[in-house]
Symmetry: none
Subunit: 223 residues, 2 copies
């Protein structure tokens, strides 16, 4: 936990920095340049990346876009050049923060924590082993993606945002099939429930997530 990747080619600075961060309760992995930085990043799981802008062997900006292209992990630029253009560029390649030297240690920690906290508050809807990442519009089960059609997705989101709450058939039909004044038969819902169960339940015949409440409706439960 609180694993941080520091990419910094100034060895003495890196040493003192990681020493300090460790004393603050972080665990720090250190990479000297672009190549091992990316390699490390792809191998381990980090909660935050501290990135020196001016590396010898590559451009800090490109490392940042590289990282951001494959994950949401917060990236904070650390840099001597407090140059405004660089700062702006840093944010444009997706950085979460940009800190000029000299670093003030407690502020640095505060900014790292801030970035991690913001990142942690992702809008994830979870129910048992099924997760909807509404910030991407994706559903996963045990970390592998499940492809849901547009309406299946909406239906599941409806259930997950009302976890534990009973939804009447009427309410569900209203919520999903009232975008065009079309009439949709009642049995449609039965079929959608079945299709969802087939996709998300471990044993669709014994649903543990989408429960039937006979005569009343359905609800999603956790455990």
């Amino acid at each position: 936990m609180r694993n941080i990747l520091l990419i910094e080619d100034d060895i003495s600075l890196a040493k003192s920095l990681s020493g300090f961060l460790q004393s603050e309760g972080f665990s720090v992995a250190h990479a000297l340049g672009m190549t091992d930085g990316i390699e490390l990043f792809e191998k381990e799981n980090f909660e935050c990346v501290l990135l020196d802008l001016s590396l010898d062997d590559g451009n800090g900006f490109s490392i940042c876009s590289r990282i951001k292209s494959q994950s949401d992990t917060p990236v904070i630029f650390l840099t001597a050049s407090a140059d405004e253009t660089c700062t702006v560029m840093g944010f444009e390649v997706g950085a979460d923060d940009y800190i000029g030297k000299p670093f003030r240690p407690r502020e640095l920690v505060a900014r790292i924590k801030n970035a991690i906290r913001k990142h942690a508050s992702q809008p994830l809807l979870q129910c048992s082993n099924v997760i909807i990442d509404t910030s991407r519009g994706v559903c996963r089960k045990n970390n592998s993606e499940i492809f849901l059609s547009a309406l299946e997705y909406r239906l599941l989101v409806l259930f997950f945002t009302n976890k534990g709450i009973l939804l009447s058939r009427e309410k569900i039909m209203d919520e999903l099939w009232t975008f065009s004044g079309e009439f949709v038969g009642d049995s449609t819902l039965n079929v959608y429930i079945k299709r969802l169960r087939d996709k998300i339940e471990d044993d669709p015949a014994n649903p543990q997530i989408l429960k039937t409440v006979r005569g009343l409706g359905y609800k999603a439960v956790d455990e």
Copy 2:
């Protein structure tokens, strides 16, 4: 759109600041102190709050916690005192960023945009007259619903959560077409862009939302 609340008791500073921000495309509401600041905040809808730490009539910190207790709107402290303890305190009461004077205008804008973008984890993603309600998985244009297919939806969410940021073709392809190890041709993206434009743009031939950045990729822009 891009409505900002500035709480600042130094009138001349407030004037020049809001002038500049307006020239950058923000619309700025100005409050002189705590009382009208809170009042304005509760009345209107803002995408970001700029908060002077040292107000006469109240403590900037308490305004911040007040705001954060009732919403997720990003709060950025603007302050003369670059004092480290204050900075740390600012983050502790939930601020999203903390900028010391003197402000560098483009950096300020970059940080504001960054805060707003990060806040995109909120349920409503908006770009011009198109809104995605991620808490329901629906897209609306001028308040009437637009039916997007699963992949179109994901693509648009990707753009809207990165509003103003350039997305390379590679990054987009990675994000959308890497769920099954299938290869998907490069031209697919062109077609999806067209389909989205046909659905969301007022004049699909002159896209105002999904902009092409030739040779680099695409980005969603607001106005």
